[in-house]
Symmetry: C2
Subunit: 395 residues, 2 copies
């Protein structure tokens, strides 16, 4: 199978023209926007030219179907409110090129998909979630964007042709930019994904005693910010024997009450989020977090409470598909590839409940994504395309 790098890059640049904006190679192409729908029209035409049968499901997920059974490849072509030209688009155009090359080579049969609303104008990966059966269409239709538009209203512009039965697909492979700094910092070209990490996220509240910042001696304070800070510092020590270099945890939101410079904070609400590919490890981390927060509160005579925990389970990639990508990476980019987890969610998470899935990463320059500045060296894009093609040919 012979992919055409020039044709692939030309299509990628052409897709960027729909919603081109901002600096560099920026794109504004949110789900169901005029630019998004025009891009999907163009994509449908390119699918037809590649000999694929176009179907658009009621959510607006766009499929270019080969004869069943086929391997499904793709990603999404909607963008963040301010996004780059590669997030999602790369996986769709790479799939299109592999489908074309495969058809020219006489097989195997490759179908292509661009999922709708991966970037979550209405939720989180809503297009693949509805298609995958994890989110009912009537429930999804009630979701609102920031302007109060419902998904049900927004998808009235979809030229739906019918449902697409997942049974016809033997597996799903999604190529994507890394959206992180790992490969950019090591100079590698290819990341074969081991698993999409699971997420735990909850709010924690420390309650102490609001007091005058001048008249309350340090020893008599129950300062909620001090509790958060002490908890945060001790957490890194407690985690040391549990985490791996791929584990991440974040306090991204902090809200003090009353949040005034002359008042000892009586209350602090903060977000605690942690991600890892191993569900057991996520559980051990949760126990450490709960125990430590309680210890910190008890030591200060304060109260701690835990909000509802968001839990998304890790998804391991299918070993047969993953090994095919690894073997191909060894050939295309010797010593310049690695196995790595995906720290971000992708459509592959939803699709994994229907069929075997695998993912392939190429680097993000400076680790930047969800911004106009998002970019990847074109040599790395082509390397990724070749790894995909080599893997598909070997399956």
């Amino acid at each position: 199978m012979q992919v055409d790098a020039g044709r692939f890059l030309a299509d990628l640049h052409k897709l960027r023209e729909f919603g081109a904006a901002g600096v560099g190679r920026g794109v504004v192409r949110p789900a169901y926007s005029e630019a998004d729908m025009a891009a999907r029209d163009w994509l449908a035409q390119r699918m037809r030219e590649a000999g694929l049968r176009v179907e658009v499901d009621p959510m607006g997920n766009l499929f270019g179907l080969a004869d069943a059974p086929s391997l499904l490849m793709g990603s999404h072509s909607d963008s963040q409110p301010e996004g780059g030209w590669l997030d999602g688009a790369l996986g769709v155009i790479a799939a299109l090129e592999v489908a074309r090359a495969s058809r020219e080579a006489g097989g195997p049969a490759i179908s292509v998909v661009s999922f709708q609303d991966e970037e979550g104008r209405f939720g989180v990966t809503t297009g693949s979630a509805v298609w995958g059966g994890h989110l009912a269409q009537d429930v999804a239709d009630l979701l609102c964007d920031h302007n109060g538009v419902t998904l049900g209203e927004a998808r009235s512009v979809v030229p739906a042709t019918g449902d697409v039965d997942p049974v016809q697909f033997t597996g799903f492979i999604e190529m994507h930019i890394e959206q992180g700094p790992v490969m950019d910092s090591t100079g590698e070209q290819i990341g074969v994904v081991s698993d999409i990490v699971g997420i735990r996220d909850m709010k924690i509240t420390f309650e102490g005693q609001q007091n005058h910042a001048g008249t309350t001696p340090m020893a008599l304070r129950q300062d909620a910010f001090q509790a958060v800070s002490t908890f945060n510092q001790a957490l890194a020590e407690r985690f040391a024997n549990v985490v791996t270099p791929a584990t991440v945890w974040t306090i991204g939101h902090v809200s003090l009450h009353p949040n005034a410079s002359s008042i000892v904070p009586g209350k602090a609400v903060f977000s605690m989020q942690w991600r890892d590919g191993d569900a057991d490890r996520l559980g051990r981390m949760e126990q450490i977090i709960r125990d430590l927060a309680q210890e910190v509160a008890d030591a200060r005579g304060m109260r701690v409470s835990f909000g509802k925990m968001l839990g998304l389970e890790p998804v391991a990639m299918d070993m047969r598909l993953r090994k095919a990508l690894e073997t191909s990476a060894k050939t295309v980019a010797p010593n310049k590839w690695r196995v790595m987890p995906s720290g971000a969610l992708h459509d592959a998470t939803n699709v994994s409940r229907l069929m075997p899935v695998a993912m392939l990463f190429v680097p993000s320059i400076n680790g930047i994504s969800h911004a106009f500045e998002e970019d990847t060296d074109e040599a790395d894009l082509v390397a990724g395309l070749k790894v995909l093609a080599g893997a598909v040919a070997a399956l």
Copy 2:
């Protein structure tokens, strides 16, 4: 000199009736409100009954004047938007009772004052600031409250009689509730103030790199919240050899950007406030804060910047007046008194530029003030009154 505890407590309860609100002994009597002006009318009448000549200056500061030269005593009778019955009121009524008792005893000459807007509807201790000459009346008149009313408009209700020359006063003694938990926790009755602490207050900003909380490994993060937390923990260690048990420091305000649970915070702005009675120590603490913040930023490849610093200098109490209070405290409350700094600002700070000043504290139950729940055991109120009278008689 024989003070009348019953008359003193009766007047204190009577004053609470003006603006009585909320639970317990709560009061709503903000500066220039109907309740405040009615209370001042009643106070003026009580001053006249005590043989004092009433003057109201253009700001609305109410004086009950004895023949010059006299010792000035008092505090303020305006309250916080939600305040207690003692904050300010105690010092005014105690001064009135000492003036009465002193007059009945044939001397010494005691004048009484209730300053206006100590609680800062329009600023910080604005009544005594204008009288003390630290704030020009025409500048003060432009200050606005939270509803956009100017001080100039608000003070149109003042029945001004004329200016009051500070030269006639030999000194100023202010009795006040502690507004902190120190004496309540030790069971002491009397605090003789050594100094009103100085304050330093500034905003500090750490800037790192905003990043995806899933795809950015811990080792490659420049997390602004982590910088604040590390700074905060190290600060306590660096301060250990510099501070005293009376020194306080507070991070009361924290603002993360973008403050979202799935994003590594790229920026953190926080308030750093510290208070101490020793100007040199305040300076040494400032150097530690600046050096440490820079070290924390440098170690992480981040940037730190410092906002404008608010500086209020410490005010030492006059040693002669203070010693008179200490001697009297030894008699009235043996082994149940202490020398302590005032961690809060008071009218005495402004008056200290005009004449010798001293302050006396009684305990606050549970350290509570600026709240309806504010209270003090009546035995402690009377003990404070007796210490005042004893000191005045001995001067």
